[in-house]
Subunit: 252 residues, 2 copies
């Protein structure tokens, strides 16, 4: 039975896609059969692993009931890593999904049918707390929250954790917070150091030991359609994601 992880944070640009793609690539590389689900209409995770963003069926057809989940699963150029791609058309689901009765559990039902084929299922969420992210949180066993080392990302965290508690109470009592991961961290700036101190003080047991540094090789890798561990395996960014994957696997 695969463990389902949602990578979520309504704050934009904090490293959700980068974390989902690279974590999935690391656990796939370690030999676990892994499924990456792109639940963002921007389809960045799809592009980040080298797939086009106009594939059909995509997650949109799965959520709208037009296609079984298994038909939307694609192989990627990475061993052990399969992908359910997204397309810009998924933006329509934000308005269409809530028209169904039990719309929050559509993704959960869709993933049930393939869950025993994978050991890890990792969902990349869009930057909002709308119907798509709610679906991901209702389907997930655990949630990983990337937190950029910036003021707005820190300031918004309390609200996000309250929302997670609401989801746990109302939609998915078994959802747990796997951890908070600091991203784009630059220890040379006081701002980054202050954010890390605040985070470790307020959430001592939740923050991963591994900190993802700001590293230009991470930003370059999606232009090659590759996770950073394949674009530049020995750079600081790749090594940090390998360490994070080890920490996540140890918490499972």
């Amino acid at each position: 039975m695969g463990r389902i992880f949602a990578v979520a944070n309504q704050k934009g640009g904090v490293g959700k896609t980068t974390t989902a793609v690279n974590l999935a690539a690391c656990v796939a590389e370690a030999g676990y059969s892994t499924l990456l689900v792109d639940l963002d209409p921007q389809a960045n995770a799809t592009v980040g692993v080298g797939l086009p963003k106009d594939l059909t069926p995509s997650i949109y057809e799965v959520l709208s009931g037009e296609s079984p989940t298994v038909a939307a699963i694609r192989a990627s150029r990475i061993n052990n890593l399969s992908v359910v791609p997204s397309t810009p058309g998924l933006a329509g689901a934000g308005v269409e999904l809530p028209q169904n009765q039990d719309y929050q559990h559509v993704l959960k039902a869709a993933l049930e049918s393939v869950r025993d084929q994978f050991e890890f299922i990792i969902i990349d969420c869009p930057p909002s707390l709308g119907p798509l992210t709610v679906n991901a949180l209702a389907a997930a066993d655990e949630v990983i929250v990337p937190v950029q080392s910036e003021y707005y990302a820190l300031e918004g965290l309390a609200g996000l954790l309250e929302t997670l508690e609401l989801v746990q109470r109302e939609l998915n009592p078994s959802l747990t917070v796997c951890g908070l991961v600091l991203t784009m961290h630059d220890p040379r700036t006081r701002l980054s150091r202050d954010v890390e101190t605040e985070l470790r003080t307020h959430f001592p047991r939740l923050v991963f030991d591994t900190v993802i540094p700001r590293n230009v090789r991470i930003g370059e890798s999606p232009s090659h359609g590759l996770p950073v561990i394949h674009h530049d395996p020995h750079c600081a960014g790749a090594e940090a994601y390998v360490a994070l994957a080890r920490e996540v696997a140890a918490r499972v």
Copy 2:
């Protein structure tokens, strides 16, 4: 009659709030009466100018019809700058708004009533192309698009410009693209330089001459509830936003 600018891009974390807040502060500092409208449930622009994110009435009460626009306008600590604050409760509007008949024009109607009190009205949009951003694009005369010097931000731009054309055709024929502004630019990296070259090649007349550099003082300023031109007026970030404000005013 005030000019209405929407600062929009569905890609998260590209500098929408930072650009809206600092542009608004620059034109206010230059003596123009300015209104900053925070249309994001994250309420980052509200916090960025030193206001709390639990004020009532907020933009949420304005959009839901519970409060006239004028009652939601607050003074800020910056001369000539007034603000319509946001709250996390605005997230509900994403689902509630589309239930109205002509929901796309709710903000436009709300701003009509105050438009002649301000010379500039600047709207900060959330990271999505949902009902809130559609309302902003339907209400605006011009749209300013921050583009982070990163691959995913560039890759998503074509889709965004297509959406803007759709809005121009169907909802707001007078909407024009004021310009694209490169943000968090670090000329030391090839990635940043490549993104700038691509952008200026594909959209020569749309990209502003002014480029906003990555500058830690910009990231620090929201923690003081101040725009960067008040937090550190002579830093590279502040000077860049002053130059951008001049360019925007020249294009009006």
